[in-house]
Amino acid sequence: MTVESTAARTPRRSAGTKAGTTGTKRTTNTTKKATGARKSSGKSAEPALVQLLTPEGKRVKNAEFDKYVAGITAEELRGLYRDMVLTRRFDAEATSLQRQGELGLWASLLGQEAAQIGSGRALRDDDYVFPTYREHGVAWCRGVDPTNLLGMFRGVNNGGWDPNGNNFHLYTIVIGSQTLHATGYAMGVAKDGADSAVIAYFGDGASSQGDVAEAFTFSAVYNAPVVFFCQNNQWAISEPTEKQSRVPLYQRAQGFGFPGVRVDGNDVLANLAVTKWALERARAGEGPTLVEAFTYRMGAHTTSDDPTRYRGDEERLAWEAKDPILRLRRYLESSNHADEGFFAELESESEALGRRVREAVRAMPDPDHFAIFENVYADGHALVDEERAQFAAYQASFADADGGK
């Protein structure tokens, strides 16, 4: 499912040109319109969020965003469901593989499937994604083989796929760094006169990072075609969002001069619609958008974390009732978009995926020792050459000793 832009394609503005001012003005106008339409920055304790599917699986109308999913077919809806189920199955398998000692660590996306699949399926092939280290669902949408995501968690590499193969950049572990890379990439897209868009994923914890604030500044000043997709999963390891911000995160955008919107992060349709809207803005030369997907990290931060030390079961239970997969299933069933056969087939497809991932990980060989010295530089470096030779001689000394026996 890709999105074709319907907006007029205007020439890109870049670095401080006179025309860039116009772009900024237009952005400001859109801000007003966007926030006005939602009336969400008022005094209510919890700001309104964009929701198209209730937790009970009921389709609700939304004047502003319905049009972005108006033509969605039953097959496409089943596709979104399938993506979420398979992503969750893959994620569960990876968690198990960590427990079995096959992976050193795993960062589970459990609970965030709708945010990732909804936004991921809004993208076009020529768009570019800059993920954190938890965007397994987005990777799935981009066609990155899930087994390739596991290399870094097994410890055989630090990133096992070609970023340009699927326009899906490597996982970034340093919190928030990738938002600047996305912004720079988007500045390049604009310079090229292309109408692709860029999307940067980050979390509620990252929103405190200076790099994220700088990315907001740069993207606004240069009117870069980038969507900032913040999955607010409520927890940055043990710290709740209140430790990061006094205002709802999406409202941060206003101060930078571009629109921000909060979306129900567990509603795949709403994430699809809102991300399409934001991408269209980017393509149309209207600059950056902040999307805050309000969701929940159902599991631990990573397999090394123990969430019982900092949060209670009630919270988790409340969010379980809003489960992203369950609500789409209810909708599919109530609207007769899927039958038992579909769910049964998906079940066996899930198991097959789990098996494939398991087998692939177990078969994943340790890298050659000399990989330490590979790709340190593109054009080589005398010291690396020297140390590689020393290392080789050292290794060979064991072979000599063995041979001498």
Binding site: D162, S177, L180, M187, G188, E214, F218, E374
Partner: protein
Amino acid sequence: MAEKMALAKAINESLRRALEADPKVVVMGEDVGKLGGVFRVTDGLQKDFGESRVIDTPLAESGIVGTAIGLALRGYRPVVEIQFDGFVFPAYDQIVTQLAKMHARSLGKVKLPVVVRIPYGGGIGAVEHHSESPESLFAHVAGLKIVSPSNASDAYWMMQQAVQSDDPVIFFEPKRRYWDKAEVNTEAIPGPLHTARVVREGSDLTLAAYGPMVKLCQEAADAAAEEGRSLEVLDLRSVSPIDFDSIQASVEKTRRLVVVHEAPVFFGSGAEIAARITERCFYHLEAPVLRVGGYHAPYPPARLEESYLPDLDRVLDAVDRSLAY
């Protein structure tokens, strides 16, 4: 065509040539556009190449380097300016965790042809954070290449080569030498970027330096010559990699080595050179490798910098100590 020009002008001409040769080259930084940079190194470039190729950025160093990385991923070759040495640290995270490591992280799939220009070093009577020499903090990081020209001709050619490099290059510009003029032949065929050059041949002792200290070492060699001592002066030009083969060849001849840099000697590049040359030339050395550089103290207020920075007498003192062994 050979022409006499100041070091700052040589970099300007080199950037101009790079911008002309490759539409993917972009120059970015604080005040690099209309103003032409606080040292005028980018003077006139925005006027001639436009605001989308010579980009005035927000005052955010991490943002400058971070977006340069993104531009490089898109196929651009950004040359970014950090206004002063002491201002690079907000960008240190992006340089160390991202710029240096992304090529390896991608198993060689992506390249990061980013040049980070940093005017560095003291001797200009500046306020705090405007006189530092942080090259060792970058040389310690695999994935980066570190160079520093000492004269206008090298500045011109090394910048050409840095822009063409597919690896990130931290380009340390000796700001107190910006106005020193030298002949620049823009049609010469330059030697490799990371090789040292014998500036002056000698037989009694080798002085090794780079950037602003090369001129000082030449002056020291002149002074020593009056006392009948023949000093060889090596311009290292590159701090990562360091051309140890050239230093070794020189030390095997002179048997004595003094390394001079403005940066503090503690964990400085001189320490690394001393360790490696001791290992390579142990049986040739007549004296331990000595170092002349800054002290383990914050860079002092301008009225004290003459006491902090290596000068002729401190270099000659080290020469005397080495020769006394």
